[in-house]
Amino acid sequence: MLGLRLYMAQRLSAMVMIPLTLGHIAVMIYAIQGGLSAAEILGRTKGSVVWFLFYGLFVLAVSLHASIGLRVIVHETLGLKGRGLEIFMWLSGILLLATGLRALFAVTL
């Protein structure tokens, strides 16, 4: 159900997510503490290559990590396997990627 390649993809994406998650939480706390409005936040993120790369990498890592994690959960709790399990993993990954990229483009482009 989980071979070496998927295991490595999930572990490596987790390692990428550690600093990004901490950065994301820090940004949220900063934005709220400083009382920034949505317009002010967008003013800083729109057109920023740094925020595009930061959240772009985050979205990629989350899509990879979460879809493999969901694959394990769905297999072990619902018994889904074979082609159905592969389709579920890819669909959940694509869904996470699409929604994540949609948000990324909205705030950085």
Partner: protein, 269 residues
């Protein structure tokens, strides 16, 4: 001054002053005490618990209880055992929901409200009553690559190994497995993922991987990197908790994970 010795002597004499009938009755009633034993009866198509009253005895094991039921209550009860001294790994069963080697499990250790429930090993098909079908367990033992790949022929002298090398010291912690399948029955990953090779097979693979006399350790890494391989382990540790020989299969699986990850970075496996 009265010494403790003389005080005890006086007390004991006072107790003995009573007619010894009372003492004998007490001993007899203690030896005739019975316990409630629920035993799973059935086969692959299904079954349920059957209840027996079994006399309690001193130094009684769960295997003694099962043997008593078969010899004195119901000769059709099926179960498996061989050595009765914790070496062969044949007699493992679920006792009060926990996998145990029954020949080395004292009744007094597990008796709860004067009752015991004995069932066939979890995670394995049942042949009949308490005898589980061990085939999946041993099939996975082979699938995990736990077979020695020789470097020499029988005509060459035996290779001398240094027992103090780190690999050998680590191997020593994993080789006393008696194949009882207690860890396999305890593993929640096995129960939710039928492909998972299980703790015993992976521990065996780990010890062979560490063996400097093994010709092809990469074959073992490939065998444990498949869809049911070591990467499916959640490190819950039930195997290590319940292993009757005090082994640590969880550590062995962690070792295999490290070895496969290192191999992944080295050779893009």
């Amino acid at each position: 001054m009265i010494s403790i010795y003389s005080f005890l002597l006086e007390t004991l004499t006072a107790i003995n002053a009573a007619p010894s009938f009372t003492v004998i009755e007490a001993v007899l009633s203690a030896s005739m005490q019975e316990m409630d034993v629920s035993v799973w009866r059935g086969d692959a198509s299904g079954g349920g618990l059957e209840h027996f009253r079994v006399p309690a005895e001193e130094s009684q094991t769960i295997l003694d209880v099962v043997a008593w039921i078969q010899q004195y209550a119901d000769p059709t009860l099926s179960y498996r055992y061989a050595c009765r001294v914790g070496m062969c790994g044949s007699c493992a069963m679920m006792v009060n929901g926990v996998p145990r080697w029954t020949c080395r499990t004292h009744v007094k250790k597990v008796l709860k409200d004067n009752a015991i429930t004995i069932e066939p090993l979890r995670n394995l098909p049942v042949i009949k009553d308490l005898a589980a079908d061990m085939d999946p367990f041993f099939d996975k033992w082979v699938a995990a690559g736990g077979v020695h790949h020789p470097t020499k022929t029988r005509n060459e002298p035996i290779e001398i190994l240094d027992p103090k090398t780190p690999e050998r010291v680590e191997t020593d912690t994993g080789i006393e497995c008696i194949n009882c399948s207690v860890c396999y029955a305890a593993c929640d990953t096995v129960s939710s993922n039928v492909d998972f090779l299980g703790p015993a097979a992976l521990q065996r693979a780990w010890t062979i991987y560490l063996d400097p006399k093994d010709a092809d350790p990469n074959v073992i890494l490939d065998a444990v990197s498949g869809k049911g391989g070591c990467h499916n382990c959640h490190s819950q540790g039930s195997c290590t908790l319940h292993c009757p020989n005090g082994l640590n299969p969880m550590k062995a699986i962690a070792g295999l994970k490290r070895a496969t990850v290192a191999s992944f970075f080295k050779g893009g496996r």
